[in-house]
């Protein structure tokens, strides 16, 4: 509370559209900014501090001082505060509160949904990755869990339990880890039961211009051989070839096809986090244009490059899925560190390959596996703490958009709807639950997150009726088998999901109503406002 100088400002005007605005009172709590309309309905708008991306004060004019609050989920709130002093106070306070300096300041540590200890523990067990790996049907004679990363000794950004080929000796495992950036050795991410081919992931090898490691070479050989029917494997480097080559000068790089037997190297060309960050910023700028013409919009869309990058990520997924399902060839995926582009490519491929990941629970499992457990740096990428702005990048946004693009092409294939993706997106940034805090499992364990915070998954699961796609039906042909999307440029719908946040699709909405009478009743009972986190006030 020490940062809140002015907890309450009256007669604040919230500008909804240039012609529509409401007057009310602004409250600042330690976790939220709350705007309460003066109208009889006392409509409330809650804005979580951790969702605030930036706060901008415009020069004061005769009617007051304008303040713009931009959120990480693309909501923009425009306020007009009568006294300049109040405006400055709110600005200073929000600026500080939206940039926590320590994990302890995050909302998840104070958020209390009144669950007892036992329920909280049970909630954290809702997603079980061990169960997931056994669901995949991994043949125990070919793959096993290695103890090599016990206590994160081998790689501190990986989970402690890793699936590796049974034929790889402990020495090979350790040797391979030593030859990979940050010790992120090749391990199993997904096993495709139908063909026996697998998707493995790693970071780039430390090959430089001439270095080699026989352990790493043997590791890849072991992965290839754990798919008995195939004679070679793909190594997919998701970076543009030029970037990969540049890394050689720093003693890193990519696999030399002469040293590794029977590998085929494939570059995909997904750009790095800096390019993606700039691309999204340009896209947001397009969204903020006042009364843009069609040309302004299309030009801006093209210039942002956003859809080009989405296409690149999807293309990577399509390549991997095709190799695994149609050619029956295993794939090792890596980029530089193997926690951004690699996570994107592996998880998009998994969604295409396995109908389970197209269910509500399945997508949670996939995110838990490919992103949370394998050390995607959530706190850095989504700016949970005040830190290096160059570490921030919309990596997960892009994955969710890829899924959304697939939903446009296969409307019956997904159990969840657009609202589910939007909710996930919000919580990746919100810091309300502990799931996405920190950058890897080890950090989470050290912070004892499971004891001190709550898990998002059971909360979403309880409300799954709201996130269910009415067109999804088990047994429908689209809910089975591998998805083969078209990735021709014109197939990408320029109607961007992340930037038109209000879940539109009244079509989808009406069908949900028909399919789920309880939901319909619920909606009738709680008419009107849908405001942020009002439930927990």
């Amino acid at each position: 509370m020490e940062h809140i100088r002015t907890p309450k400002v009256e007669n604040v005007r919230m500008i909804v559209t240039p012609r529509k605005s409401t007057v009310g009172t602004l409250y600042l709590s330690s976790t939220h900014t709350i705007f309460v309309e003066n109208s009889e309905a006392l409509k409330e708008t809650w804005v979580l501090h951790s969702l605030v991306y930036n706060v901008e004060r415009l020069p004061a004019n005769s009617s007051g001082s304008p303040l713009i609050i931009r959120c990480k989920n693309f909501h923009v709130y425009r306020l007009l505060i009568l006294q300049e002093k109040d405006c400055l106070d709110v600005l200073a306070c929000l600026t500080r509160l939206s940039r926590p300096e320590r994990y302890g300041e995050l909302f998840c540590f104070s958020f209390n949904p009144n669950l007892d200890k036992e329920l909280r523990e049970k909630a954290w067990g809702f997603i079980d990755l061990k169960a997931e790996f056994s669901r995949m049907g991994i043949p125990r004679n070919l793959w096993h869990v290695t103890a090599a990363n016990h206590e994160y000794r081998l790689c501190d950004t990986y989970p402690s339990e890793l699936f590796v080929p049974k034929s790889a000796s402990p020495a090979v495992i350790v040797g391979s880890a030593k030859f990979r950036s940050r010790g992120r050795l090749p391990v199993l991410s997904y096993f495709h039961r139908d063909t026996g081919a697998s998707i493995c992931r790693s970071s780039q090898p430390l090959s430089g211009f001439s270095a080699r490691s026989s352990d790493d070479e043997q590791m890849l050989q072991a992965i290839m051989k754990s798919n008995p029917v195939s004679e070679f494997m793909y190594v997919v480097d998701t970076r543009p070839k030029l970037n990969a080559m540049a890394n050689r000068a720093a003693g890193k790089g990519y696999e030399n096809e002469d040293h590794y037997t029977n590998i085929k190297l494939q570059f995909i060309g997904i750009e790095n986090i800096h390019v993606m960050r700039n691309s999204q910023q340009k896209l947001i700028d397009v969204g903020e244009l006042a009364a843009p013409s069609m040309s302004d919009f299309l030009w801006g869309l093209e210039n942002s490059g956003w859809l080009k990058h989405i296409k690149a990520v999807l293309d990577a997924g399509v390549f991997i899925a095709k190799a695994v399902a149609e050619e029956g060839v295993s794939v090792l995926v890596h980029c530089s560190d193997g926690w951004d582009r690699t996570a994107q490519a592996c998880s998009v491929a998994s969604v295409l390959l396995d109908p389970y990941y197209r269910t509500i629970k399945g997508l949670m499992v996939l995110i838990e596996k490919d992103w949370v457990s394998f050390g995607h740096k959530f706190s850095h990428r989504y700016a949970h703490l005040d830190g290096d702005p160059k570490e921030v990048s919309p990596v997960m946004d892009q994955f969710l958009e890829c899924v959304w693009q697939l939903m446009q092409q296969f409307p019956c294939a997904f159990e969840f709807n657009e609202r589910f993706l939007i909710q996930l997106h919000t919580h990746i940034y919100s810091c309300q639950y502990g799931n996405f805090i920190c950058n890897c499992q080890k950090e989470r364990r050290d912070l004892r997150l499971k004891e001190r915070t709550h898990s998002l998954w059971p909360h979403l699961w309880e409300n799954r009726a709201e996130y269910t796609n009415p067109l999804y039906r088990t047994g429908h042909s689209q809910t089975r088998g591998v998805l083969k999307p078209l990735t021709t440029a014109y197939c990408f719908n320029g109607n961007l999901p992340s930037h038109s946040l209000a879940p539109k699709g009244s079509q989808c909405h009406r069908l949900s109503m028909l399919k789920c009478p309880t939901l319909q009743q619920k909606k009738r009972l709680q008419p009107g406002t849908k405001s942020g986190f009002g439930l927990y006030s």
């Binding site: 969204g287 843009p292 013409s293 069609m294 040309s295 302004d296 919009f297 299309l298 030009w299 869309l301 093209e302 490059g305 859809l307 080009k308 296409k311 092409q409 296969f410 409307p411 019956c412 294939a413 009415p470 067109l471 039906r473 429908h476 042909s477 689209q478 078209l486 021709t488 440029a489 014109y490 197939c491 990408f492 719908n493 320029g494 109607n495 961007l496 930037h499 038109s500 009244s506 079509q507 009406r510 069908l511 028909l514 399919k515």
Partner: protein
């Protein structure tokens, strides 16, 4: 003239048909006076029946003695025919070329077509103008076919009088009307016409204001003066305020369509190239312009209760786009199938949109454009945009719009032949051809066009015209460039859910009735 003269080779065996996303078919190619037919002579494979009138252009190629004809259709489909034998191929190509560019209207297929269905409701008798305006009492209607002046051909000031129509009854509630006209013929020296001023001013009650929406920019309207046209001087029409909007003239549209379809047909485009081609085609900008102007017209009527007069140059292109879209926004009746048919009949066919000229060629025309322009297609695209934004407010679905697009360009029915009512009367279409409405309104056909989500909505529906709300009409422009299997399945799924829900509703209702019955039967027993 005998069609046989044009058909040099009526039949070729061993022709292979390639269509995107479909298996190739090998079979016999036959040419008739109006159709290109390919049949594999096997029961299970689909045959191709293509109206010559649907063919926009063809290309031929030869590899050795194997000839290939690429047929580009007005509905934007592109198919390929591999024809063995160079002579056969050349003959077929020249026949197609001749048969698809017949000059005489009376040789068109509608004059030869005999329906295989029984005409229950004759579409030619369906829409009588008095009907559409029956709720307007103070209005005197002008019947273009009774006048000596041909409707749709601008001639002196009568043009204004004749083209004066009013909107639907719905708008007369607040005594606001929507009218359309051609430009007044003021010329450079500011000619006036007392009758026109009287007529226009007479539509407004004392103290009421009206808006004249000129679909041209002020610069274009000024220019029109040099050719004898012009716009209303405010001093002469004191109760009216004039607003200029920038809807492109029809000749620019054709170029835009050609560019758009070219972009859509190239699958090798990178994302950057695709987006820049989409932008350069300018098609989406036109959708936005027209919808914006239609919203403005609707707003004047709905928000201000003001009357609106819309005109461009001749009042047969952009004017009709604006007035018909404004009515879809304002009037729920226009969002039903019957109401939409009435709208097309009244605001397009009877208003004298020159269908035959505008739809003579489509996106693959390679000659010098004459008067063709996708004015009607652009209107349908705008309707689709509104339909997409209000998916439950229309009784019909996208298929109806696509069907209108197809039939406007090539059809077995006579409805879209001719350029105005007078021409249609002269051609005796109602006696010699079958009306599109006779076919569409049969229950078996209608089923295909029904929107399962329809829930009548009596409100005015305001579409968003922000660029990100307006999408490419995939159903038309990407129709032949991707498989729609998954999307079709989604529609079926939707229908299933709704049917199932109806079934359950019925069950609930009958159980409720039973319960009520049982309660009334039981109640005397329960009371002691």
């Amino acid at each position: 003239m005998e069609f046989a003269e044009l058909i040099k080779t009526p039949r070729v065996d061993g022709v292979v048909l390639h269509r995107p996303f479909m298996p190739t078919v090998e079979g016999t190619l036959c040419l008739t006076g109006h159709h290109l037919i390919l049949s594999s002579r096997q029961d299970n494979t689909e045959e191709l029946w293509l109206l010559h009138a649907n063919i926009d252009s063809i290309e031929k190629r030869f590899v050795g003695s194997l000839g290939t004809i690429i047929v580009k259709c007005k509905d934007l489909r592109v198919i390929q025919l591999d024809i063995p034998g160079m002579e056969e191929c050349l003959n077929i190509a020249s026949s197609i070329e001749a048969l698809s560019t017949l000059d005489s209207v009376s040789l068109m297929y509608p004059f030869f077509y005999r329906p295989l269905f029984e005409v229950i409701e004759d579409g030619w008798q369906l829409f009588v103008p008095e009907e559409a305006f029956k709720d307007l009492e103070s209005m005197v209607l002008f019947y273009p076919w009774n006048e000596t002046t041909l409707f749709g051909l601008p001639k002196e000031d009568e043009e204004d009088n004749i083209a004066l129509w009013s909107a639907e009854s719905a708008f007369t509630v607040d005594e606001a009307v929507m009218m359309r006209a051609a430009q007044p013929l003021t010329g450079t020296n500011g000619r006036r016409c007392k009758e026109d001023e009287k007529l226009i001013n007479a539509t407004l009650c004392a103290g009421k204001r009206g808006y004249i929406i000129d679909t041209r920019t002020i610069a274009v309207a000024q220019q029109a003066k040099t050719r004898g046209g012009g716009f209303e001087q405010e001093a002469n029409y004191p109760q009216w305020r004039r607003i200029h909007k920038a809807i492109e003239r029809s000749n620019v549209l054709q170029d835009s369509l050609i560019k758009l379809v070219e972009a859509c047909n190239d699958q090798s485009h990178s994302m950057d190239r695709w987006l820049s081609k989409l932008e350069a085609s300018n098609w989406q900008s036109k959708v936005k312009e027209i919808l914006t102007t239609a919203c403005l017209a609707a707003q004047c009527i709905d928000r201000e209760g003001a009357s609106v007069l819309v005109h461009g140059t001749e009042g047969t292109d952009s004017t009709l786009q604006v007035t018909s879209l404004a009515q879809i926004i304002l009037d729920p009746a226009c969002r039903t199938i019957r109401g939409f048919e009435v709208l097309i009949e009244r605001e397009w066919l009877q208003a004298g949109h020159p269908f035959q000229q505008r739809c003579a060629q489509s996106a693959y025309s390679n000659g010098k454009p004459r008067s063709e322009a996708p004015v009607f297609l652009l209107f349908l695209d705008c309707v689709w945009q509104i339909l997409r934004q209000f998916p439950c407010s229309f009784q019909f679905n996208e298929n109806l719009l696509i069907m209108f697009f197809e039939h406007a360009y090539a059809s077995q029915f006579g409805t879209f032949l001719g350029n105005c009512v007078a021409e249609r009367v002269k051609l005796q279409l109602s006696q010699k051809t079958v009306s599109l409405w006779s076919w569409v309104n049969r229950p078996q056909e209608l089923e295909r066009f029904l929107n399962p989500l329809y829930e009548p909505n009596n409100l005015v529906i305001w579409p968003s015209v922000a660029p990100q709300s307006l999408l490419l009409w995939e159903g038309v422009f990407l129709r032949w460039n991707r498989s729609t299997k998954c999307l079709d399945e989604a529609c079926q799924e939707m229908v299933h859910i709704i049917e199932y829900n109806k079934e359950l509703q019925n069950k609930v209702n009958s159980l409720r009735r039973q319960l009520a019955q049982l309660e009334t039967e039981d109640s005397p027993l329960q009371t002691p």
